[in-house]
């Protein structure tokens, strides 16, 4: 059953060195505040899982906390490169970054398999792509009925999934709405779950498009208004597109990045 806890305490308790961590949210509801808390606590050697690493993982990678990245599209959406991600991959700075790289369809299916507690998922994908040459989590399988060859992708089961949602009630039941991404799958695939929320409410009113996660699949809820900034929480905030654009400048240079880290996160 979810406990309502402070962010610092919840992160310290649920996320450990060496964990496989998924912080999900497809552009919308990205749990930046929790990631910054991970940076402040210096939780390291993480395997980071996310369809779109986005600025949130660029920050964790730049901070030297990531050993491996499991992903499908590593850019700054609408802006360009993720420079910390590139620097780690191309130059091993501040440390080498192992990659397990898939397509979006493959990653979405990997989470779904994880949530379903199946060891793998099937999809019609990856045909003719070099993606399969470097990963051990992609294989093929023949349909026992038609003989058709399909792609098989290994399940993803994070040690911890962290998401940001709009609301939780006092029992830790969570509701998010708007673009729902793969959050439900990432939560249900994980061993432990932390949810940061914009608001604690007495009663969750069902919403159109609302995704409800019962408190008994969540370990901790932390009240962190604005915890998705610079991404957004529909109904609470707008996406800070300027931050995303400015990140291109901040992240391009190692020194500027480190200064940002000190000033805006660890300082």
């Amino acid at each position: 059953m979810a406990e309502i806890r402070g962010l610092r305490e919840a992160v310290a308790d649920l996320i450990r060195d060496g964990d496989t961590v998924a912080m999900e949210g497809f552009t919308h509801l990205i749990p930046f505040a929790a990631a910054h808390e991970v940076i402040r606590q210096g939780i390291t050697d993480l395997t980071l899982v996310r369809m779109t690493p986005d600025v949130i993982y660029d920050q964790l990678i730049g901070a030297g906390l990531a050993r491996k990245l499991v992903f499908s599209w590593g850019g700054n959406p609408g802006v360009g490169s993720l420079h910390r991600f590139r620097d780690a991959v191309e130059n091993g700075w501040p440390r080498p970054l192992e990659l397990d790289e898939h397509s979006h369809a493959g990653m979405a299916n990997r989470y779904a398999a994880g949530a379903s507690r199946l060891p793998f998922a099937l999809l019609n994908g990856y045909r003719g792509s070099d993606l399969g040459r470097r990963t051990t989590t992609l294989s093929t399988i023949d349909c026992p009925f038609t003989g058709q060859e399909l792609a098989a992708v290994a399940a993803v089961n994070p040690d911890v999934t962290v998401i940001h949602a709009q609301q939780a009630d006092r029992d830790g039941n969570v509701q998010l709405w708007g673009l729902a991404g793969v959050q439900k799958e990432a939560v249900l695939a994980a061993e432990r779950v932390l949810v940061t929320v914009e608001e604690l409410v007495e009663v969750l009113e069902p919403r159109p498009g609302g995704v409800v996660l019962p408190g008994w699949v969540v370990d901790a809820v932390a009240w962190v208004p604005g915890g998705a900034h610079p991404s957004y929480a529909a109904g609470y905030s707008e996406r800070d597109n300027d931050y995303y654009r400015e990140w291109d400048r901040v992240s391009r240079d190692r020194d500027v990045f480190q200064q940002w880290l000190k000033e805006c996160v660890t300082g």
């Binding site: 959406p77 191309e90 397509s103 979006h104 999809l123 003719g128 792509s129 708007g178 995704v211």
Partner: protein
């Protein structure tokens, strides 16, 4: 091509050309950047019933301004339906529900195979890292057809890809069928210089149209393989007043 006064910029020509290619489509899978511009322009000018589908889960989005990211709030607010990302890729994309997919490319070869993963930057330098696959391999596989929009340059239009992220026409005629791919694959590559289409016989991209004021020689120079041309290379009609006005409106809101 410069964007100076009185001249039409390359991105505008690409957006307008791509929008025109959507005249007959019912549903379009939209990525951010030029594809989103083109698809929204098509909805405003050529094809008001066009259903825009963003991989973030918005089906039938009708944004009034161009979103910076595929997850922008306005996409959700204006959509006919929101679906989880898993469902988007299984029931809708893999389910064969989408007529036209849009792709960009860091490198493209003559069979319209695409690299968006990494590029060789020469000896002594690490390979340059790009964003990666995203939805592209399955968009190219499952959409009824694929439009590619990319700026023309010999660094992009290459003899040989450094990495095959997404299969276009593979090694030539019949290769998509051998891979069991359902859709027709790339049907046109719209650039800032003109339009290339696969030769029906060889599946090799050939130049079929140039934009007004562009010569075939200029396109050849910007292409990293010996570019073949159609028997008659046409000239694309210049952007109309309406197209330019709506494009500006989309961008300035």
């Amino acid at each position: 091509m410069s964007d100076g006064p009185g001249r039409v910029g390359g991105d505008v020509l690409m957006a307008v050309g791509a929008a025109r290619a959507l005249v007959g489509a019912r549903t379009c899978f939209v990525g951010i950047g030029l594809p989103s511009t083109a698809a929204n322009l098509a909805r405003r000018v050529h094809n008001p019933g066009l259903v825009l589908i963003y991989e973030s889960g918005a089906i039938g989005a009708k944004p009034s301004r161009l979103p910076l990211s595929i997850g922008d709030g306005e996409l959700a607010d204006t959509a006919d339906a929101l679906v989880p990302v898993t469902e988007m890729f299984t029931y809708w994309l893999q389910g064969g529900r989408i007529d036209v997919g849009f792709l960009g490319a860091a490198q493209l070869d003559r069979y319209a195979n695409i690299n968006t993963t990494e590029v060789d930057r020469g000896p002594g330098r690490p390979r340059g890292r790009l964003p990666g696959a995203g939805g592209a391999p399955e968009i190219a596989a499952h959409c009824g057809e694929v439009l590619i929009a990319v700026r023309h340059s010999p660094r992009t239009f290459v003899e040989r890809l450094d990495y095959v992220t997404t299969l276009g026409h593979g090694t030539g005629p019949g290769d998509r069928a051998r891979h069991g791919l359902r859709g027709r694959g790339p049907v046109s590559v719209i650039t800032d210089l003109g339009v290339l289409r696969p030769d029906p016989a060889t599946a090799e991209l050939i130049l079929t149209e140039v934009h007004p004021g562009v010569t075939v020689g200029q396109v050849r120079e910007a292409t990293g393989w010996p570019l073949r041309t159609a028997d008659r290379v046409g000239v694309t009609p210049p952007p109309s007043e309406l197209e330019l006005r709506e494009l500006n409106a989309l961008k300035s809101v």
